[in-house]
């Protein structure tokens, strides 16, 4: 990565061969390289092409919903990277499989409510966690992660980097996803 080897600029001119009255023609950044101590690093377009971003895969079987969603959101947003920038999408893609087997602690399975409103009066629809898991299990993880991503144009774009699947197979083998590194020890539901 170009970041790790420091300045990669080619010095176009060695100022010692240039006569004194022509030295003003050369910019400081051409001669000595970019000023890294006075200009905070900002990603160029080549630093965040979608094709070069890593893909991670995580199996949601028996993982606590909120803790899983938190680590996923951190990786999607790019907050674990040194190149984190709030205005730029530097994060990775995350695939979640076995979304229907995600776990919650306590009585949340029957008591946690998912609400949505159609906009019309009396249009509030309420479902429990168990009912939604029966109907559309992907939506549970999507709802959790969406609540943890920033809300705005960039947040909506980041949300598209999350891919959730019901069973254990996914169509992204060509991206060669690696295991998502999880540091939270309490994420695994202990029976």
């Amino acid at each position: 990565m170009a970041l790790l080897c420091g300045s990669t600029s080619v010095r176009s001119q060695d100022l010692s061969v240039v006569p004194l009255d022509e030295r003003w023609m050369f910019e400081e950044s051409e001669v000595n390289g970019p000023d890294i101590w006075n200009k905070t690093w900002y990603p160029k377009a080549a630093d965040h092409v979608n094709t070069d971003k890593p893909w991670y895969i995580v199996d949601a079987t028996d993982k606590i919903l909120g803790r899983l969603a938190s680590t996923i959101a951190i990786h999607i947003r790019g907050k674990n990277l040194a190149t984190y920038t709030p205005s730029v999408d530097m994060g990775a893609f995350v695939i979640v499989v076995n979304a229907d087997k995600v776990a919650v602690s306590g009585k949340k399975r029957t008591q946690k409510l998912y609400r949505r409103h159609s906009g019309r009066p009396g249009g509030m629809k309420v479902e429990t966690f168990a009912q939604l898991q029966q109907r559309i299990p992907e939506r549970i993880i999507e709802h959790a992660v969406r609540g943890m991503l920033p809300k705005g144009r960039l947040g909506r774009k980041l949300f598209n980097h999350l891919k959730v699947y019901k069973g254990s197979d996914h169509p992204h083998e060509a991206q060669k996803p690696t295991e998502l590194p999880i540091r939270d020890k309490r994420i695994q539901m202990t029976r």
């Binding site: 907050k79 674990n80 040194a82 920038t85 540091r183």
Partner: protein, 117 residues
């Protein structure tokens, strides 16, 4: 009283303002009254954001340092790094640490290992 036209006085004043607003979008660079308002708003935003800029960059540096430090070791964080930094009386500020974190990560690991001891 003789009739006096105002002539070019107002126009001269307004062209200066118009020059400032020349790169704005749509009506904000074309209509005179809107131009004066938009120039005022632009200058107010610039003033307010010059103070915010100092805050925003510090937040960014802290986030970047935190990301790199947490990635290195378990149970190590930005807060602990800063505590160790102050204990050893190292004067590196967050801007420099963040640039080191982005451009030369191993160097930051070396620094943090030194100050933990």
């Amino acid at each position: 009283m003789t009739r006096i036209k105002r002539g070019y006085i107002a126009r001269r004043r307004r062209t200066k303002i118009r020059l400032f607003t020349s790169s704005f979008r749509g009506a904000h660079s074309r209509l005179t009254r809107t131009i004066t308002q938009q120039k005022i708003r632009a200058l107010v935003s610039a003033h307010r954001d010059r103070d915010r800029q100092k805050r925003d960059f510090r937040r960014l540096w802290i986030s970047r340092i935190n990301a790199v430090i947490r990635g290195n070791k378990v149970y190590y964080s930005y807060s602990k790094l800063m505590y160790n930094l102050y204990k050893k009386q190292l004067l590196l500020n967050r801007k420099i640490l963040a640039q080191i974190a982005t451009l030369n990560r191993n160097c930051l690991y070396m620094i943090s290992n030194e100050i933990i001891k």
